[in-house]
């Protein structure tokens, strides 16, 4: 048998201890998912991953009973199974992003991945052996009896909702939750994560109460869950810089397109004295600060709109990168943000929404969003027509005097 020796973390002293609360607390202060993965006690230990025999496996060879695939493989498989299950059994809720209520807690029973509580964050197969088979039973996180441990074990168990030890420890855990929650993509997982188990209450009532309480407690976390994180810090930063430059260009667009002038030519000029602006004076936001809002040549005030548009575009593109990560959705978001900023400002300044902006943006958006979600290709043109049609209908109502007198 040339499988590698598989070490049992609970029995082998050279293996790291099962994760304890202290470790979790330090993890909480790390910087996110990568740091957590790096500090994962099972990381890089090939002992847990099988080395496949080099030759073809004989037909009758059984896998050893303690055969375990590696952590990441198992997680990936679980996710894949869940996805295929969801896809085959029901209409995908992808588009409106609202999972059916029974799927809100999918994956929670397995104790794998979705709940950031310290125990269930580590998959059950890895943390449990005969003496601590601790995982949620199928059908819900309910237990009728408190298993007592001491020290680290108790702390560890408390993490998944046994007894509240102290207010302070609890606060630490919830902070940990908020920190660790960012990377998880399960929609509505925070409902799962806040389920607590109180012994001695009948299951149904307990579940209902837990869900209610989870909703209430989840309300605190709404602000951290508002934007699901997609992109890295570097991507966000680069997108912000890119957005500043784009915003500088948008200023030109806002100034010239409603007047019917060319965007590209001629170069930037002071509208009053006509002096062309040097590249040094054209740096987004910074130049405005350096020049103190005045033209270098004639001293005419530069409207505060210019740095504001640049900063807003930069911030919005950074936000988009943060939210969507490197994906087609990011492309859609970038084009939309650019179009919306320029349209908002032209409407504010000239009361115009130039076709030269709306038309190309619409075409671009249609193509990009169909590329981003090909299976929903019909939704975009349909809702474009519906939005425009509904709008013009309401507009004619308003004109006919049926509206609110706008």
């Amino acid at each position: 048998m040339n499988f590698a020796v598989i070490r049992n973390p609970a029995k082998n002293s050279s293996a790291p201890d099962a994760p304890n609360d202290r470790r979790d607390a330090t993890m909480a202060w790390g910087c996110g998912r990568l740091a957590r993965m790096k500090r994962h006690p099972y990381r890089g230990r090939d002992a847990y991953a099988p080395t496949e025999p080099s030759g073809p496996r004989p037909e009758n060879a059984k896998r050893p009973p303690e055969f375990r695939t590696s952590l990441s493989t198992r997680r990936m498989e679980a996710a894949k199974n869940r996805m295929t299950d969801a896809a085959s059994t029901r209409i995908p809720y992808d588009f409106l992003d609202v999972p059916p209520s029974d799927e809100r807690c999918a994956g929670f029973e397995e104790g794998a991945g979705h709940s950031p509580r310290s125990v269930s964050r580590f998959p059950a197969a890895e943390t449990s052996d005969s003496q601590s088979a601790w995982r949620f039973p199928k059908g819900g996180p309910c237990r009728s009896r408190v298993r007592r441990g001491s020290g680290a074990t108790r702390l560890r168990r408390r993490g998944a909702g046994f007894r509240r030890l102290s207010r302070r420890a609890d606060a630490r855990l919830s902070r940990f939750d908020r920190r660790s929650a960012r990377g998880y993509a399960c929609p509505g997982w925070w409902i799962c994560a806040h389920i607590r188990v109180a012994p001695g209450i009948p299951h149904e009532r307990r579940d209902a109460a837990n869900l209610r309480g989870a909703r209430l407690r989840g309300g605190v976390f709404v602000f951290t869950r508002l934007l699901r994180r997609g992109g890295s810090g570097l991507l966000t930063f680069v997108a912000g810089l890119f957005g500043l430059v784009i915003g500088s260009f948008l200023n030109v667009v806002i100034h010239r397109v409603p007047l019917g002038e060319s965007v590209a030519w001629p170069g930037s000029k002071c509208p009053k004295c006509g002096a062309s602006i040097s590249p040094f004076d054209n740096v987004p936001v910074l130049s405005y600060l350096v020049l103190r809002g005045k033209c270098r040549n004639c001293g005419v005030r530069i409207p505060v709109r210019y740095p504001l548009v640049e900063a807003a575009t930069g911030a919005l593109l950074a936000l988009a990168a943060y939210r969507f990560g490197l994906s087609f959705e990011l492309a859609v978001a970038v084009v939309l943000v650019v179009a919306l900023v320029s349209l908002a400002m032209t409407d504010l300044e000239h009361r115009l929404l130039p076709n030269a902006i709306v038309g190309p943006a619409a075409a671009c958006g249609l193509v990009l969003s169909v590329v981003a979600r090909p299976e929903w290709w019909w939704v975009y043109p349909a809702s474009a027509l519906a939005a425009a049609g509904g709008f013009s209908r309401s507009r004619s109502f308003i004109r006919a005097g049926w509206g609110w007198g706008m």
């Binding site: 588009f95 409106l96 992003d97 609202v98 929609p187 509505g188 909703r215 869950r225 508002l226 934007l227 919005l316 936000l319 988009a320 939210r323 859609v332 978001a333 084009v335 939309l336 943000v337 179009a339 919306l340 900023v341 349209l343 908002a344 400002m345 032209t346 409407d347 504010l348 009361r351 115009l352 929404l353 130039p354 076709n355 709306v358 038309g359 943006a361 619409a362 075409a363 958006g365 249609l366 990009l368 969003s369 929903w376 939704v379 975009y380 043109p381 809702s383 474009a384 027509l385 519906a386 939005a387 425009a388 509904g390 709008f391 013009s392 507009r395 308003i398 706008m406």
Partner: protein, 78 residues
């Protein structure tokens, strides 16, 4: 509100899909609120043009970033 707003709503539909309705609704809400406040403060008159495109683009940004969240939260009320 002119023809430009209609086209802009169509453009939002191209980008956002069904969330465009949310965007238009939020824009109308924001526009009505702001113009109501300004009207009450006497800064603008009854016939002043409201730049609805500006408000609609604010609504579009909200729908882009937190649209799904708002929608699921709205459904969660029931």
């Amino acid at each position: 509100m002119g023809m430009g707003d209609v086209k802009m709503a169509g453009m939002l539909g191209c980008f956002l899909g069904p969330y465009a309705f949310l965007a238009v609704f939020l824009g109308a809400l924001a526009g009505a609120t702001v113009s109501g406040v300004l009207m009450a403060a006497g800064r603008i008159g009854r016939r002043t043009h409201i730049p609805f495109g500006t408000f609609m683009s604010l609504g579009g940004l909200a729908a882009l970033f937190i649209g799904p969240w708002m929608w699921s939260g709205y459904l969660g009320l029931f």
